[in-house]
């Protein structure tokens, strides 16, 4: 057994190191629980679902400004479209950029839907943005973003 030699530490040094360690572990614990998805990874996720550059407009997201319970947040996505065979919404992709995984749901519509509006209830880990991208029948993409403030996160623990 070799003797472990500790470097000499002044009192100040010990306090500073402890504080740094504490801060680092708090930050990493926080990150591990919450912000696994970032706006960048959400964008990447969307890029895989729908190829191309999305323009702002046509899409509207209805969601509460403040959600008290992140376990169950009602979200409605509506897209302006006549929903005819020539001009319809093919798909609506929804992502959230602060959940452990960015994906929320993708909806695939047909002209038989008559109206491009879907509602569901989602989980939100923390205050974050919901991004919806609508893919039209002609391949064009439209997007909208909405922030929801979450009081109690909904990812269990």
């Amino acid at each position: 057994m070799s003797e472990t030699r500790m470097p000499a530490l002044s009192r100040r040094r010990v306090i500073v190191t402890a504080a740094q360690l504490g801060a680092a572990s708090v930050a990493s614990a926080f990150l591990a629980r919450h912000a696994a998805a970032t706006p960048e990874s959400a964008k990447e996720w969307l890029g895989k679902l729908a190829k191309g550059e999305a323009k702002a407009g046509k899409v509207s997201i209805k969601a509460p400004e403040i959600a008290e319970n992140g376990n169950n947040v009602p979200v409605t996505v509506a897209v302006e479209s006549p929903m005819t065979a020539a001009d319809y919404v093919k798909a609506v992709h929804v992502v959230a950029d602060g959940n452990p995984n960015p994906g929320v749901a993708s909806f695939f519509l047909t002209p038989a839907c008559g109206k491009a509006e879907v509602q569901t209830r989602i989980r939100m880990a923390t205050t974050q943005n919901i991004v919806a991208v609508a893919e039209m029948g002609d391949g064009s993409l439209w997007t909208a973003t909405r922030q929801v403030k979450v009081t109690i996160g909904g990812c269990g623990g």
Binding site: N71, V73, V104, F108, L109, T110, A112, C113, G114, V118
Partner: protein
């Protein structure tokens, strides 16, 4: 788990031709996200409904791909245009491969 999965559909029984109406669906399911840990610190495996399909007389009208971020007892509502009488068939696909089904008949005048 299939025993406590109960699909519910809310939609009109009759509609005028060309009218657009809403179909509301809900299925009881815990939607285990795969993020939670049990008392021993072990991760509880993911078990969610990952897809939903709605067909009218065998033709797909609406479908969805669902991620764990959808809340427990997944609720989905969407719109359809009444073109013909028939039966809407709803299918939910579980991670373990089981399918949960429901039907709704509509008379279009």
């Amino acid at each position: 788990m299939a025993a406590d999965v109960k699909p519910r559909i809310k939609a009109p029984a009759t509609a005028k031709k060309g009218e657009t109406f809403e179909i509301k669906t809900l299925v009881t399911h815990e939607m285990e996200s795969g993020q939670r840990k049990d008392a021993d610190g072990k991760t509880i495996p993911r078990k969610i409904i990952n897809a939903f399909h709605c067909k009218l007389n065998g033709r797909e009208v609406f479908s969805a791909k669902i991620e764990p971020a959808v809340a427990a007892n997944p609720y989905l509502s969407f719109f359809v245009r009444a073109e013909e009488s028939g039966t809407y068939e709803f299918t939910w696909v579980d991670d373990d491969g089981s399918l949960y089904k429901a039907e709704h008949k509509i008379a279009v005048s």
